[in-house]
Assembly symmetry: D2
Homo-oligomer: 373 residues x 4
Amino acid sequence: ACYAAQAIGYLTSKPAVCLVVSGPGLLHTLGGLANATVNGWPVICIGGSSDTDQETRGAFQEWPQVESARLYCKHVSRAPTIAAIPSHVEKAVRTSLYGRPGAVYIDIPGNLVLSTYPKKEIQLVSTVPLYSPPSIPPEAVLQQAIARLREAKKPLVIIGKGSVWSERGPAQLRAFITATGLPFLPTPGGKGVVPDTHPLCIAPARSFALREADVILLVGARLNWILHFGQPPRFKPDVKILQIDVCAEEFHQNVQTTVPLLGDIGETVEALRGQLKGWHYEKNSAWLQALQQNAKKNRETVENFANNGSLPLNYYAAYKPIREFLEKNDVLVVNEGANTMDIGRTMMPNVEPRRRLDAGTFGTMGVGLGYAM
Amino acid sequence: ACYAAQAIGYLTSKPAVCLVVSGPGLLHTLGGLANATVNGWPVICIGGSSDTDQETRGAFQEWPQVESARLYCKHVSRAPTIAAIPSHVEKAVRTSLYGRPGAVYIDIPGNLVLSTYPKKEIQLVSTVPLYSPPSIPPEAVLQQAIARLREAKKPLVIIGKGSVWSERGPAQLRAFITATGLPFLPTPGGKGVVPDTHPLCIAPARSFALREADVILLVGARLNWILHFGQPPRFKPDVKILQIDVCAEEFHQNVQTTVPLLGDIGETVEALRGQLKGWHYEKNSAWLQALQQNAKKNRETVENFANNGSLPLNYYAAYKPIREFLEKNDVLVVNEGANTMDIGRTMMPNVEPRRRLDAGTFGTMGVGLGYAM
Amino acid sequence: ACYAAQAIGYLTSKPAVCLVVSGPGLLHTLGGLANATVNGWPVICIGGSSDTDQETRGAFQEWPQVESARLYCKHVSRAPTIAAIPSHVEKAVRTSLYGRPGAVYIDIPGNLVLSTYPKKEIQLVSTVPLYSPPSIPPEAVLQQAIARLREAKKPLVIIGKGSVWSERGPAQLRAFITATGLPFLPTPGGKGVVPDTHPLCIAPARSFALREADVILLVGARLNWILHFGQPPRFKPDVKILQIDVCAEEFHQNVQTTVPLLGDIGETVEALRGQLKGWHYEKNSAWLQALQQNAKKNRETVENFANNGSLPLNYYAAYKPIREFLEKNDVLVVNEGANTMDIGRTMMPNVEPRRRLDAGTFGTMGVGLGYAM
Amino acid sequence: ACYAAQAIGYLTSKPAVCLVVSGPGLLHTLGGLANATVNGWPVICIGGSSDTDQETRGAFQEWPQVESARLYCKHVSRAPTIAAIPSHVEKAVRTSLYGRPGAVYIDIPGNLVLSTYPKKEIQLVSTVPLYSPPSIPPEAVLQQAIARLREAKKPLVIIGKGSVWSERGPAQLRAFITATGLPFLPTPGGKGVVPDTHPLCIAPARSFALREADVILLVGARLNWILHFGQPPRFKPDVKILQIDVCAEEFHQNVQTTVPLLGDIGETVEALRGQLKGWHYEKNSAWLQALQQNAKKNRETVENFANNGSLPLNYYAAYKPIREFLEKNDVLVVNEGANTMDIGRTMMPNVEPRRRLDAGTFGTMGVGLGYAM
C-alpha cells in the first residue's frame, strides 16, 4: 500500500495517504517510506497506535511507531489531541511537498480515534498551496552557466526525475530543449518529461554521450550510482557540470559543480532561456551527427536481438511482443524492479514514453520496460 | 521470508536464517524481526549492503542498515572483515537463543562478499550449545510457592508460549500437571505444550476460570493484553500470582507477583514437583466440577452454532468441516491473524492440538483455528 | 567543546571542528550537535571509535557512535578507509554549510587512526566554496511582496538569526533598511545584523510593534515560541506575513505565509530593493511616531529600575555597571542561558550591539545581556 | 548530575533519580545513562518536556526526548496522564534494578506537570521489592563446576563488579573465599567486595595469575577489554572458565564457557559452597607460593618507584602522600578516569579498599587510585 501511495505521489505531484493499523501495519510501510524519501517523492502515512494509557503495559501491537518511522521520513509526529489534528495534517502535507519532497508519518493513538470533539471548536488551518515556493539563481549565476553553454563543443542535457517537481517544469523543459536545440538524455526516472521520440533525445547513445560530453547541464538528477558517480571512464575527466537542483546540499556531490544553479527547475530553465535570447546550438554539428550515428548502431543491435527467436529466448525478443502490444493499447505497465536491473538498459525508441510504476527498489524506480536508460 | 524464518524458530527452538538484499530487502524484514523479538522467538537476518567505499556517495540501495535493524533486534552487528565473520555468527546464534530469545541482524557489506581470505587462517569459534544455561529458584523461594499452592482453594495453571523455551520444558510440564492434578489453561501461544485433550485442560471455561481462580501459577506467560493485564473484573482482585519466567523484568508487570520464580521453566517446574513430594490437588473438588460444568455448557453453545447451517453462515459452522478434515489428516494449518482475532476464541476440544503458524501480527501469534484461548 | 565549536560556526559562518574520543567523548557532544542543528549553525564533530575488529566483543568504550549522532545531525558517516577520508570530509564541510546549516559527525575507527597510506595515492577532492549557492524568488513573486509593502499602514521588518547566512546578507539588509525607511525589530539571535543604535530599530517597543503591525517582512526568523508562534493576541489576527527564508518547509509554519520569498536572504533583500526602485516608507508616519513613543516610555521604565539601588537589587540595577563597563571596553560577554530567560528581555539602547555567546540552550541562544529582544 | 546518580546506584544498589529540564537538560544525561547501562548500574532519569500541544510548532527546547534516550536505556516511557505516573514509576524502578540493572528514562510533558488530578482517584501500585528475584543453577550444573574446581592445579577466582548485585552477594563471596582457600583477583569494579588486604588476594600478581591459571571461576565479570578478551598470551590457551553471571547472553563471550553458572551471584556461590561440603584448596601449594612470590616482587618494584623523589616525579611517588593521607583519614576519593588509565594499574596493598567514584568513562569505572587491577 505504501509503495502504491508513493508512486501516486510521483505520478501526480500530490501526496497520497497510506492508512495503516498499529505495530506490523506501520512496520510494513517502512520500505515504502524510505523509498519515497530517498527518491524525493511525497507520501503521507497515517498509523493508528495503542491507547496511550496502555503503553508500557503490553498493549495489543504496542510499538514506538513515531520512533520507528523517524529514520525513513522527512517529518514524523503524533497528534496529542483531536484539536491538534488539523495543524499536524497541514504540516504533514506541507513537509511532504516543500523543498525536496519526501515521506511523512502521523501517529494517531487509539484513544484519540474513539474520542469526540465539538465540531465548532475545531480550529481549521489554511490549506497549503500545492507547489513549493519557487526560486531561481541570481542573474550573475545564470550568466556563468550561459557562458559555459555557449562555449561548449559537445554539450549534453541530462534530464532527471527531479524535473517533474515544479509547477510548470516539464513544459518549460520541453520549451528549453526545442529553443536551444541541445541533445538530451533522460535518466530512468526522468523519462517522459521530454518524450523519447523527440529528435534531440539521444538515449540509445547513452554511453557514448556521457563519455564524450564536455559540458553537461544536469537537470534534477544526482551523480549517484545511476550516473556512475560522474566519474571517468564513464564521464570525461574535465567535464563541466552545470547543475540545476532544488537542494543546495546536492551540488558538488562526487564531482565539483562548475556552476550550481539552485532553484525551481522549470523556473530556472525558463530564466536560462530568457537570458540566452534566442541562442541555438549549431544544428548540423559533428557532435549531433556522432550521437545520432551511435544511436542508430545501438538501435540496430537491439533490433537484431529482438528479431532473433532462437531458444533460449533473449530478453529483447521477449519484450518485442509486449512493445507491439503497448503501441496499440493504452495500458499501465507495472514491472518488477529486479528484472529491469537485469536488462532494462536497452532501447525501444518508437514507443511513446509513459510513466512507469515498478516494484519499489530504491535505485531502480522508473527503470522502465524496454526503454533506454 | 522473515516471518517464515521466525516461525521456524518458534516451532523448532532453533533460529532460522533469513537472507536479504540491501535497502528494501532489509527493510521488508523489520516487521518479522520486531515480531520475533516481541514474542521472544529466535531468528537471524543476514543482509548484504553497499560497498563501504561507496557509502555517502549514493550507492545502489545505500542505507544505514545496522541502524535500521537496531530497534527491532536483541543484537545487531556488521562484520568488518572476513576474519571476523565466525565470531559475529557465533554471537548472533547465541544472542538469538540465550536468555529471552529474539531477533539478530548481521550486516555484510558488498566488498566483503566479493573478497577472499585464506581458509587456513580463519579462526573458527566454538559452536554454542543450543539451549540457554538453565537456572532454578533457590529452595526457600520454591517453598513459598508450594505453600501458596497447597492452601489454594481454586488453583489454576496458565501455560504460556514461553514454556517451550527450555530443553525439556514441555515434558516436565506434562509430568507436573499429571502429578499434581491441577487444572490448566493454555494461552494461544502455549497451546500444544500440554494437549487440549488432557482431562485437566479447562480451556472452554477460560473466562470463568480466570475470574474465579484464587492462586494462579503463571508459566511462561505475560499478563499483557492477551490476559487482560491481569486486572479485575477478568481476574479476582486479590488473586495470588506464582510466576515462572526466565526474565526477571517480567515479574510484577501490571500485577504484583506473589512469588517470583526466576528460572528455566522446565527445570523450575521439575524442582517444584520434587519439593511437592507427591502432593496432589483434591480430585473431586467443587472447583474442578464447576470448571468442567462451565466448559460443558460453553462447548454445547458452540456446537449448536457449528451445527447451524442457516445463512449467512456463522463462523463456527464454517470451521466445522475444516475441523473434521483436520481430525482425519496430518496437515499444517496457516491462518491469517486478523481472522483469528474476530472469532478465534472458541473451542474445539476434540481436535488434537498441533502447532499453528499464522500471519504474524505481534499479539495474535498462535491464536489458532478453532481453539479456545 | 562542542558548544564552543558551534558558537564559532555562528560567529564566523565557517564550521569549527570538535575532536572527541570514543564513547562518552562523543556522547558529551550530542547537546552541542543538537543545538547547532536546531539553530541552523554549522559544526563538524570528528570522533575516534573502537577498532572495528573488536566491535561486539566488549572493546574499550565501544559504542555505536554513528547511530548515536544521527538524530542530532544533518549528516553522519564513518570513513571506511584512509583513502575515503577526503571525500567524507568534503561532504561534511559542504553539508554543514549548504542549505540550512547544521551539525555533521564523522567517525574514525581506531584501526584507521593507526594505519598508513601512500601519500601519492590519496585522491584529493576539490575544496567546497564557502557559501551555499544563492537563489532569489522569481520576479512575479517579488512583485507580490512589493505590492503588500507599498499598501501597508503599519509595516514592520523582523530580522532573525538566519540573516547572517548569506555571503553579503548583513550589508544588504542594512542597505535595505536605510533605503526603505522601514522600522525593524531584531530577534535575540538576529541582533547585530543591523545595529540596535540604528534610528529605525524599535526594539524597546517590541510588544507594541508585534501587536499592531499589519504587514511583517520576516527575514530569516521562525514564528516559533520566541515569536509567540505568530499568534494573537501577541500578533494582529489578520497580519500579512512576507517571509524570506532559505528553507521552503519553513513557510506557513504556524501562520499562513502571505508571500513566501524563498532564497538567499541578502540576495533576496537586494532584489526587493531593486524592484522597489527608490520607494521609501512615509518618514513622519503616525506609526513611526507611535513606535518611538512606546520605545521611549519603556526605556524610561527600565532606566528607573536601573537607577534604583534599593535592596534586594533588581536585575536592571545589577546590569547597569556591566553595561557601563561594556561601553568603555572591547570585551566578549559570555552569559548563562537560563539567566537570560529570567530577565533578558529588557533594553539598553545605547550599547553598541555585539555578538554574544551564551551557554547553549536551544531556545535562548543569543538572548543577550541587557538587550531588548 | 546523571553520572553522580548512577554512581549512587553502584554504591548503594538502589537507583538514584536524576531530574532534568527539557532539550539540552536531557541530552546532557545521555553519557551518564549509557555509562549506567553498559556497566549494569541502576539509574532513573526524569525529564520535563514541551507541552504536547506545542509539539511540531517550535516549542521552547522541543525535542523527541523519549527517542533520544532509547539507545542508552533499558527502558524509556512517557507518562500520558497523571493517573499513569505510578505505574510508569513502578516499571522504571523495577526495570532499572531487575535482571541486569541499567538506566531508565521517564518523560513528563509540561502540560502534565501543571495539571491536577484528584488525590483519591490515584491508583497506587505496589512497591517493587528492592532485589531482583534470585535463581541458582540446577544441582547437576553445580556438580560440573565442582568437579573442575577439585581437579584444578592452578585455580583462580576473578571477582567482578557484578558481585555486588545480589542481596547478600559480598558476604557470601567472602565466606566462599575463606571456606575454600582459593586465591582471588578483583577487577577494578570488583574491588572492595572481598578486601584487598585478605591474605588470598593476589592482586599485585595479576599478570602472572591470569597467564598461569588453569581453572578460573569468573564471578560477575566480563571477558572484555579489561580482561584482555580472555585471550592468549594474557590467558592460558586451554584455561577452563567456570562463569557465574545473572545474564545468560554473557556466557561464551569471546571464550567458550566450560561451565555456565546462571544465577544470582551470592546464592550461586553459596550453593557451590554447600555442594563442596568443606573442601579446601591445598594450603601450601606451589601455586599459592608462586603467586605470593610474584606479588612480593611487584610490590617491591612499585615501592621503589614510590620512594624515588627524583624529578620529574613518577606517578607512584605522586600517589604516595595521597596513600598516606588515605590511611589516616576517612575520605571519599573521586578521581578522573583518564588519569587512572595512564598508570592506575599499580598496587597499594596496605590500604583498606573502599568504594571509588571516578569520572565516568565506560570502561574505566572503578579503576581506583593506587590499586592493582
